[in-house]
Amino acid sequence: MIQMKELRKDFSVRVKAGRLRRVKRTVSAVDGVSLDIGTGEMVGYIGPNGAGKSTTLKMLTGVLSPSGGEVSVCGLAPVPQRTRLALSIGVVFGQRSQLWWDLPLAESFRLLRHIYRVPAADHAARLRRCRELLDLDAFLDTPVRQLSLGQRMRGELTAALLHGPRVLFLDEPTIGLDVVSKQAVRSFLGELGRSGDVTLVLTTHDLADIERLCRRLVVIDHGRVVHDGTIEQLHSRYGSRRRLIADLDAPLPDGFEVPGATVAAVEADRHRVTFVLDDVPAGAVVASLVNAAPIRDLSLVEPDIEDVVARLYTASVSGAP
């Protein structure tokens, strides 16, 4: 559905060198990205600020022309075939609106039907579905300028889907939203992804978006892909593991050991113990532990993806020339 081969985007910037002199320098925002995204995939595209996420998305949607490499979306070349491509893709730029600021939301949807030449029946069916899933009815007749950010974002999502796109690009769709709106947006996108006929590419700074939605995670930094795989692969590659914390009714016996797990900490007069699970199911550890001491409480802590990604970002910064 989406192919990128050694895709590049260079910007020339003028850097101050002395009082009046300016030197022209070339900066690569995207520096040779190769990715292949199949139909129905949900891909999270993450990276620190300025990593080249938005620039990539803009080249995929035909907004920016690439400086080098090849790119094709739905079998089309984004910039030369921009208007044809626009009919097959939906775009939500978190900070750019597709809606008419002064008109009621419903009116924007009606205008978009004409702009995308959608048959009335298809339009009505898609709008009905969005209205149900995103709870639009309460503010359908409110001018867009009076909507809250969360309401507007739900409107933007609908606007991007009314022409039945095959690929949906989302640039930071949850930025600035409160918890409830975030949940609404996420569960809607999850629903959309499960249907399997929309390919979804989303950039975000909120890793919870990725954990909830995307099987595949692409991490980009300094314009290059530094990880491409599942979240689990990311964890195993960077050595983040689950932890099991147990509160015991009796002190933990000396020299207690479970194969595959390491005792990371023993606290509270040996009444609390933390295991790091290397390569063993939590159940096996619990089974051995029950024999050693009565268990009062247990908690299993998933590895924190934020930590992994933060480590990844700093690693690639120090590794950069």
Binding site: V63, S65, L87, H114, Y116, R117
Partner: protein
């Protein structure tokens, strides 16, 4: 066909947007007509001080002023809102325009269609009416045709100037004043017989950039006066060609400009 309906929808959206602020729309409608009136008053005042300027009487000059004013209003009404592209480029809002299945220029033009300037058109054409009444025009079929075509050609010409100067913003974001020099400066230049200018300035604007063919030359042809500056009589009928040439250049510059768009970080 489908495209036309899409563009009509855009225009309808713009119409409903501006009329949602009803009072402010009415105020703008009239104040913008007033601005055009002032431009013509300037010409009249100038001739109030001198009976003849540059070898032309007020009545004769009004023919040129009328063509220039009508043409400018046509061009401004049709594509003048392309000026707003500076805002779109600076804020990155052009991204949202580029992901729609329609041409960029028609979208920009229709999304900001300056309905408030509509009354100016009435004013511009009535100056031509006054000029026709004051001058004793020897009407031939060719002159009738020229009378109809000249303001439209002037409109196309000014439209091209609007597009070219707006396109500058793809390279220099704050290019506003440079562009205005050619659009509003061009309108002021064409409002007078070009004989009032002299030297390299007249050469550059009248012939180099073609402003001399917008209102001055067709005006001469309509009045049946030979050009004091020596161009042959058919030059007055060449204004549509000059307009088409300008439109062609504008189309090329625009295409290059859009490819040059850099967007903004988000």
């Amino acid at each position: 066909m489908g495209d036309l309906r899409a563009y009509a929808a855009l225009l309808g959206g713009q119409f409903r947007s501006v009329t949602s602020y009803r009072a402010s729309f009415v105020v703008e409608l009239f104040s913008s007509a007033g601005a055009t009136a002032l431009d013509v008053v300037t010409v009249v005042v100038l001739f109030g001080a001198a009976v003849e300027v540059g070898g032309f009487t007020l009545a004769e000059a009004l023919m040129m002023t009328g063509i220039a004013a009508s043409g400018f209003v046509l061009g401004d009404l049709a594509v003048g809102s392309v000026e707003r592209i500076k805002l779109y480029v600076r804020t990155g809002m052009l991204d949202a325009v580029l992901v729609r299945p329609l041409g960029v220029l028609p979208q920009l033009v229709l999304m900001d269609f300056p309905l408030r300037k509509a009354l100016r058109l009435v004013f511009g054409t009535s100056v031509i009416g006054v000029a026709i009444a004051l001058n004793d025009v020897d009407w031939t079929p060719a002159r009738v045709l020229l009378m109809v075509v000249a303001p439209i050609a002037a409109g196309v010409y000014f439209g091209a100037i609007f597009v070219i100067s707006a396109t500058l913003s793809f390279w220099w974001v704050e290019s506003g004043e440079i562009g205005n020099g050619f659009t509003y400066g061009g309108r002021d230049f064409t409002s007078y017989p070009i004989t009032v200018y002299s030297g390299w300035f007249r050469g550059l604007f009248a012939y180099g950039l073609g402003f001399g063919f917008v209102a001055y030359q067709p005006g001469l042809a309509l009045l049946g006066r030979p050009d004091p500056l020596g161009l042959p009589g058919w030059a007055g009928y060449s204004s549509p060609l000059v307009a088409l040439l300008a439109a062609g250049i504008a189309a090329v510059v625009w295409r290059v400009g859009v490819r040059h768009y850099r967007s903004t970080g988000s």
